[in-house]
């Protein structure tokens, strides 16, 4: 079965990203296809490579990036939500005249249409948030 997963909160502050990660791993383990993980609202903050969590805690961004690499996941950060919150890739940084970018490996920035498309193409869309 085709699943789409939506993450609406940032890392650490809410459990949403952790729950979405566990759900995604288990769905893959059961042989389902994850057609997209879409990061919206504060969820875009999962996609920064600048986090430095304490050494004895989980590294949420690394976990997502590694899962994406292993299973070829399509992880999309909403561009409008990302601009409001300061998540940029190299192109966006240039276009906006910013002197740095912070997107992490495995995440790509794209439009809200990708969320709608996930809703259309997936058999189930599962949302994690606050």
């Amino acid at each position: 079965m085709k699943f789409g997963v939506v993450v609406n909160e940032g890392p650490y502050t809410h459990q949403a990203s952790d729950s979405a990660y566990q759900f995604t791993k288990e769905a893959i383990a059961q042989g389902h296809e994850i057609i997209r993980v879409f990061f919206y609202h504060d969820g875009v903050n999962n996609g920064t490579r600048l986090t430095v969590p304490p050494g004895d805690d989980r590294h949420i961004q690394n976990n997502w990036s590694e899962l994406a690499k292993e299973h070829n996941l399509d992880m999309v950060v909403c561009i409008a939500a990302a601009q409001r919150r300061g998540i940029l890739d190299e192109n966006e940084a240039k276009r906006q005249g910013k002197d740095a970018d912070n997107i992490a490996e495995g995440f790509r920035i794209s439009g809200l249409g990708q969320l709608i498309e996930a809703g259309i193409q997936a058999d189930r869309l599962v949302t994690f948030g606050d």
């Binding site: 459990q15 389902h32 599962v126 606050d130």
Partner: protein, 100 residues
């Protein structure tokens, strides 16, 4: 067509479980996750609401364990499942409605 509802907030501080149960049809399932699992504790107002509801109610065991709520504290009529059960419930129902 039946829906899987998820509730992730404590029923003692927020109305999400109450509203979810009021909007669930009898052939729907409700899964309590994250802070929503506190709704499974027996002997509370939330447990009474669950007992009166038509939908089938589940709770995510790993979120219960994280919070130190042992399974002998879980109200009758609430089934404990793992993430494997969560994925299966999502697949078995026609759509998932997250009560955020």
């Amino acid at each position: 067509m039946s829906i899987l509802h998820t509730v992730n907030k404590s029923p003692f501080q927020k109305n999400d479980l109450t509203s979810c149960l009021a909007h669930a049809n009898d052939d729907d399932a409700v899964l309590m996750i994250e802070d929503g699992v506190y709704g499974a504790i027996k002997g509370t107002q939330a447990a009474s609401q669950i007992a009166a509801a038509g939908a089938t109610v589940f709770v995510l065991g790993v979120d219960l364990a994280a919070r130190g709520i042992s399974e002998d504290k879980v109200a009758d009529g609430v089934s404990v499942v793992g993430y494997d059960g969560f994925v299966k419930l999502a697949a078995e129902h026609h759509a998932v409605n997250s009560w955020l």
